[in-house]
């Protein structure tokens, strides 16, 4: 049986409360044991079938989990494929990703789900968990066959990208989610309020002469979704929270004990609408970058647990979508390869405890989506990230593994380099 030994790293696993210099033993793709390095007297005989990784000075965590990516396949392979998207994930330390249903065709039936899973099995570098569409064709009219999707391998449903405007439909989806055991991921946006807005509504949009999207477009819909979660008892996960009022609403809902989880994207945790600068379409996404007050509220939410997940909303777009008029440019940025460093940057700046940061990237998303991942407890699948948090790197879009290069972080120096990504005991990414 293949063995992998990761020696001398700082093992950091919120799920087991582990933090210390440990040797980690992997056997047959699962965690066999871990022991404090100074008391570990195991004799290691390197040989065939035994790989030893020297992790001294490095952070060893459960493989990161991203509950919000767009792999674009099938349908938009010129932006990203399952192959390139999972390579990008691996380069970002992610071992499991959830891919959204807004492909062409939409992932609203088992044949699309199966296609994605088979393709991921053949070509994927990391674990891919499909998110099924909430409504047929993401049209917001009829519920998709959630049980069929679940059976085929979907782990959640969402019309992400297409807000569910119809409250009645959202109610039914939440009711059904209880039966299926799948959370509903809500892209909460009142499209009548966001209108033709293309960035945050505020002083910057006024200065640039761009139509704005008010915080209320998100907050009011989250309020509705929370009400419906309370009404139905369904499992609600709020995607990409961007506004300060939203954090408040989610905090209250969780305080009441509702089954509500929520994610914030690294870009919303680090950038404001000023990043739009001179019409930089790589700073255009939905929900938009907000203000300092919103960024601070999101960070506070991540600290106190109101926001429990950090998720990338990795949304590859080609230059055909991005090198156009700002108002016509497509939303979204690639995020998998910058996510860890951006979240860790908050830790390095003393704004976020390491435990909250790693939890938000490992065990919390696993729990939110009911995945048996995000932990290094003995017996679990050996999905591991090894990270050098003391090393800096500079974002060069051309060096990203993603097929698309739409990042607003070009040229920025970030903290934390992914050294190795291990999926099921097998190394899928190694830094040069």
């Amino acid at each position: 049986m293949n063995r992998l030994i990761i020696r001398g790293g700082r093992l950091f696993d919120p799920s087991t409360g582990t933090d210390g210099i440990h040797n980690l033993y992997v056997m047959g793709g699962r965690i066999a044991s871990f022991k404090p390095a100074d008391r570990d007297t195991t004799e290691i005989n390197p040989g065939p079938g035994v790989e030893v990784i020297d992790a001294r000075g490095l952070l060893v965590t459960p493989g990161l989990i991203d509950v919000h990516t767009h792999l674009r396949e099938p349908g938009f392979e010129y932006k990203e494929t399952i192959r390139t998207g999972t390579l990008s994930a691996a380069a970002g330390g992610f071992t499991s990703i959830l891919c959204m249903a807004n492909t062409a065709p939409v992932n609203d039936n088992e044949s699309v789900t199966r296609y994605i899973l088979e393709k991921a099995k053949e070509e994927g570098a990391v674990n891919v968990f499909p998110v099924g569409a909430l409504s047929v064709g993401q049209k917001g009219e009829r519920l998709a066959d959630m049980r069929e999707l679940k059976r085929a391998g979907c782990v959640a449903v969402s019309d992400d990208g297409m807000p569910v405007v119809n409250g009645g439909l959202m109610r039914k989806a939440l009711e059904y989610s209880s039966v299926c055991g799948m959370p509903v991921i809500s892209h909460s946006e009142d499209t009548a309020l966001s209108g033709s807005g293309v960035m945050n509504e505020g002083a910057v949009s006024t200065r640039l002469g761009l139509k704005g999207i008010p915080n209320a477009a998100e907050e009011s819909m989250i309020a509705r979704d929370i009400s419906l979660a309370e009404l139905t008892g369904g499992r609600l996960h709020i995607a990409h929270v961007s506004a300060r009022g939203s954090v408040e609403l989610i905090r209250m809902a969780r305080g009441k004990g509702l089954k509500v989880t929520a994610e914030a994207a690294p870009h919303h945790l680090t950038l404001t609408d000023e990043a739009v600068g001179r019409y930089n379409t790589n700073a255009k996404m939905n929900p938009p970058l907000r203000t300092v007050a919103d960024v601070e509220a999101l960070r506070a939410g991540l600290r106190d647990g109101a926001i429990d997940c950090a998720a990338t909303d990795h949304a590859p777009q080609s230059i055909i979508e991005k090198d156009v008029e700002f108002e016509r440019a497509a939303n979204g940025i690639v995020g998998l390869e910058t996510a860890f460093s951006l979240v860790y940057g908050l830790v390095a700046d003393g704004l976020l405890p390491l435990n909250a940061a790693i939890s938000a990237l490992t065990i919390n998303p696993a729990r939110a989506m009911g995945l048996d991942r995000g932990t290094l407890k003995v017996g679990s699948v050996a999905d591991i990230a090894i990270i050098d948090v003391n090393r800096d790197w500079t974002v060069d879009p051309l060096k990203l593994k993603s097929k698309s290069k739409n990042t607003p972080f070009t040229g920025m120096t970030l903290k934390g380099v992914i050294v190795k990504t291990i999926v099921g005991g097998r190394t899928v990414f190694s830094a040069d």
Binding site: E201, G202, A203, S205, G209, R278, F326, E327
Partner: protein, 308 residues
């Protein structure tokens, strides 16, 4: 003297010296349009492309005449933004135009920021002839020129801008320009058309037209797009006109020697009454005349010296 930038993208980027330079240069050039032979050889051999993605006979003609009076060759390209080739990126557009070796591209587009994107890709000069709801620098410069000519100075004046501030590039450029030259600017319009944080541009904002025009030296009326009523920015045109239209009764609240500006085209009887539009305080036709001189000055300052 030349601009610090190769482009004229917005008044926000200019300082008061740049603005004064354009105004004084325009002052010298205005005489050319009064001559029998309305042409000087200054920009012989220069090519200027007027790239208009949005119909605008007035602005395009003004730029075209300005170019021709300076002896530059002006070529007009009209593209309807909706029919713009899909799949062609801004960079493609820029590189295609550049291949024709123009010295300057004057661009008008319904989307904010397009001139800026073009300028980043192009070696030649780019002049913003109006981008979305962002800026319309040549309009603001001609407005400042017109006011300075009549009042001698802009410093210390009170300018009231009335109407649809949110959708107005003319308002934004003028707020920057007039405040940079030391005027007090007050904007007024319905709350639905007042964008958040407009004060950060340097003006005061009010919903009361009366408050804005009280003791104003200059009143700038913005054109109201009648289709905004369908989008419920105001309930009826009649109501808008009563609250934010300029008529002789409201005019009495301003200074005795007030100047009335309007970027045109007018909605007579909506934002401005015919009597006021044609009255003694109206500078509307002076603005048009001065527009040519100001645009000649812009071309002189951008194209009059050796290329970099």
């Amino acid at each position: 003297m030349r601009f610090k930038s190769k482009d004229l993208l917005g008044i926000e980027d200019l300082d008061s010296q740049d603005i004064e330079l354009v105004l004084s240069t325009a002052g010298s050039l205005r005489e050319v349009s009064e001559r029998e032979i309305k042409k000087v050889p200054t920009l012989r051999g220069r090519t200027i492309i007027n790239l208009f993605y949005e119909p605008s006979t007035r602005t395009r003609t003004s730029f075209e005449i300005a170019a021709k009076r300076m002896s530059a060759d002006a070529v007009n390209i009209s593209v309807s933004a909706s029919s713009a080739v899909k799949g062609e990126t801004i960079k493609d557009t820029a590189k295609n135009l550049e291949a024709m070796k123009p010295d300057c591209i004057v661009v008008r587009h319904s989307a904010s920021g397009v001139p800026h994107m073009l300028a980043d890709y192009l070696k030649c000069s780019v002049v913003n002839a109006g981008d979305g709801a962002h800026e319309h620098p040549s309009q603001a410069l001609l407005d400042m020129f017109t006011v300075k000519e009549k009042k001698g100075t802009i410093k210390g004046l009170k300018l009231a801008i009335i109407g649809d501030i949110g959708h107005s590039r003319v308002a934004r450029s003028n707020i920057y320009g007039f405040t940079k030259l030391g005027a007090e600017v007050v904007v007024a319009g319905p709350p639905t058309m007042m964008p958040p944080g407009i004060e950060r541009l340097g003006c005061r904002a009010t919903f009361s037209m009366e408050d804005a025009i009280a003791d104003a030296d200059v009143i700038m009326m913005l054109r109201i797009q009648l289709e905004r009523q369908k989008e419920s920015f105001f309930p009826t045109i009649r109501e808008y006109s009563m609250l934010y239209g300029l008529d002789e009764a409201k005019l009495k609240m301003a200074k005795k020697d007030v100047l009335i500006l309007h970027p045109g085209p007018l909605n007579r009887g909506v934002e401005i009454s015919p009597a006021v539009a044609d009255g003694p305080y109206s500078m509307i036709l002076d603005q048009v005349t001065n527009g040519v001189a100001v645009r000649m000055a812009i071309f002189y300052l951008l194209l009059g010296a050796a290329k970099e």
